[in-house]
């Protein structure tokens, strides 16, 4: 059992929790994730690792309530326990000193974007963080990003905070104005990652995307998370979650993510009605 020791609401339906999971902290690195199961009847879902602390054996997770399991997790309070947590899973993001590195994060991709930004910064990169949110209410982790970025460019879809536009607009402008970029890392909505990849492809900038397909075990056993990269079948949980963004079939990923839409709705309705 894994105890929640702290909790905050960061934005509407976006929550931050700190959980005791000492073994996970031992070898965790930026870009990795965990799989959790809330209780005996729970499903296994992947969540990205935001921060981890060997000193006190806790991990920090940020998640958006989108379905039954995340809403239920959102209802847990400090002192409550999560039945199973396994991790760190996936390959860590490849970190080296590229020179200037751009990290483009959208929405709840921000926690992993933060972890990668920090690692790139520690490796000596000049890091430019581009973070985008729906509107002012949904802006999260701004202070955290500021601490580990050399430049921080924030945008909101509706212009209610800092500026109006998508992260793609910001990246386009940055590059058009002669901004330096030796490496780009992107994480967030699939459409966003696809468009970011389209932009950097034109400039020939090496770009990795952190993918978020449906997973069951998260250890390479089931293949639910398979994605097509450069025409080959890859398992995001063990071969990824990061892949060369210029090689990923994002359209297929987008489709595969909708596989259980109906069942997710059914489970959610049932949860809201209090049948559980």
């Amino acid at each position: 059992m894994f105890e929640i020791v702290d909790k905050k609401v960061l934005a509407p339906n976006i929550k931050w929790i700190r959980v005791k999971a000492p073994l996970v902290t031992k070898n965790a690195k930026a870009g990795q994730f965990i799989v959790l199961r809330l209780h005996e009847k729970g499903e296994r879902i992947p969540l990205t690792l935001f921060k981890w602390h060997k000193e006190d054996g806790t991990i920090e997770l940020v998640f958006q309530e989108v379905g039954k399991t995340t809403y239920e997790l959102g209802s847990y309070e400090p002192g409550d326990k999560i039945m199973d947590i396994v991790g760190p899973l996936g390959k860590p993001t490849h970190i080296e000193n590229y020179g200037t590195a751009i990290v483009v994060s959208g929405g709840v991709g921000a926690p992993i974007g933060y972890a990668v930004t920090r690692a790139l910064k520690e490796a000596g990169n000049h890091v430019v963080s581009i973070i985008g949110f729906r509107n002012k209410q949904y802006v999260i982790l701004e202070d955290e990003f500021r601490k580990v970025s050399d430049e921080l460019l924030i945008t909101t879809d509706d212009g209610s905070y800092v500026r109006k536009g998508f992260t793609t607009d910001v990246l386009k402008e940055y590059l058009a104005n002669g901004g330096k970029a030796d490496y780009v890392f992107t994480v967030g909505p699939v459409i966003m990652m696809k468009l970011i990849a389209d932009i950097t492809r034109k400039y020939g900038i090496k770009t990795d995307a952190s993918l978020n397909p449906i997973m069951v075990d998260g250890t390479g056993m089931c293949g639910a998370c398979r994605v097509t990269v450069g025409g080959e079948i890859k398992f995001a949980c063990v071969d990824g979650p990061d892949f060369d963004a210029h090689q990923v079939n994002f359209d297929e990923l987008l489709t595969r993510l909708t596989e259980y839409r109906e069942e997710e709705r059914l489970a959610m309705d049932r949860y809201v009605k209090g049948v559980h």
Partner: protein, 476 residues
Amino acid sequence: MAKPIKKKRIAVPEQDPKARIHNFDEVALGYTFELAKEEASRCLQCPYNFAPCIKGCPVNVNIPGFIKKILEEDIKGALEVIHETNSLPGITGRVCPQEEQCEMNCVMGKLGDKVNIGKLERFVADYAREHGIMPETKIAPKNGKKVAIVGSGPSGLTAASDLIKMGYDVTVYEALHEPGGVLIYGIPEFRLPKDIVKYEVKYLKMLGAKIETNVVIGKTLSLYDLTKEYDAVFLGTGAGTPKFLNLPGVNCKGIYSANEFLTRINLMKAYKFPEYDTPIKVGKRLAVIGAGNVAMDAARSALRVGFEEVYILYRRTREYMTARQEEIHHAEEEGVKFMFLVSPVEFIGDENCNVKVVKLIMNKLGEPDLSGRRRPEPIPGSEFALEVDAVVFAIGQRPNKVLYQEVPELKTTKWGTLVVDEKYRTTMPGVFAGGDAVRGEATVVLAMGDGKRAAKAIDEYIRTGEWPKEINQKTF
């Protein structure tokens, strides 16, 4: 005193096929005490040194010995005889391919039906479990040495049990949230009730084994973390990575590996969705590609979750199917349809990319391949379409490479299996391996046999400290 020979096997009561395809309860109901005694009385009691059944058993259970105890109505005695070499009788009694092993050369076969050894073993385990009968187990005094077992499937559980009895301090690491490996995520409830696996795991814990779930060796802890902390390590990591055919449309929705399909159903209880959170999509027609035991498990599970029509699609002919006779027979009884000499060439989805059609090509059998089986050869122009709502790939698995990725010292074969010698020693000193991780894909009992022999080799290594300069690769 000569006794009359009973030529016919005592039938094992089974759930009616029409009823059982609507539930996940066990198909074979097992012998009652009376029926078990009757079947036991058919055994000719071949002497220990001759009995072909003992020789045919990968863990050499003293079969005439335990059968005699059943006749004497001494179930505890029978259980103890089995436990001398097999600590998981409730499992092997159900999933072993007895017809190719112990029962194959049963002398009764010359006079009539072979003795139903599997079901007798199962009876002993079940009766003991239901009546709280435990074997007297001799456990050597603790020797202060520690062994880590990676993977809690059949090879790991067997190695753990034997090492505990030798006095070792044993910790078993399991990646999933539940111990049992393939016994839990793979083999369906109707063939091996999960309570039986849980009982065997509980027994192992009672003997003193520590079982750490939710730990992925290679991720949570590295193999080096283990070799530092333990005197020896046994890798029983199985063959858990599913194979797909990279055909057009293979990533359409509704196409699963058997592992995913079975894991959702067995481990995650998707058949109880939405009471349980993990869903499974149910449509009208499902096609399973492959014809091994896993394929039969997937096909029969599909019927139980509500698919109306289930096909097994196999590229060779009936006689080449690798599944056990009993599984094929049960699948047929339940209405699974078989299509032979067909191979998929393409999957076609609807506008939302839900699989709707599998395009198949007809084969003819050509010359035998390396396995001695005649190779299927596609017949040009013979393509046809089969409408489906779901497809399950059951064409085999490879060992999971997560563990080995960052351990260059561990040599693997071109099939991804670990290189070991006849004492199950890998190319990394102090590290042993067995089961599907070294065999590719085999059976539960072969994995148990490996676990047993590896436990002996581990004991020898820890006592002597001897490790060869070179590992002479054993072929399985």
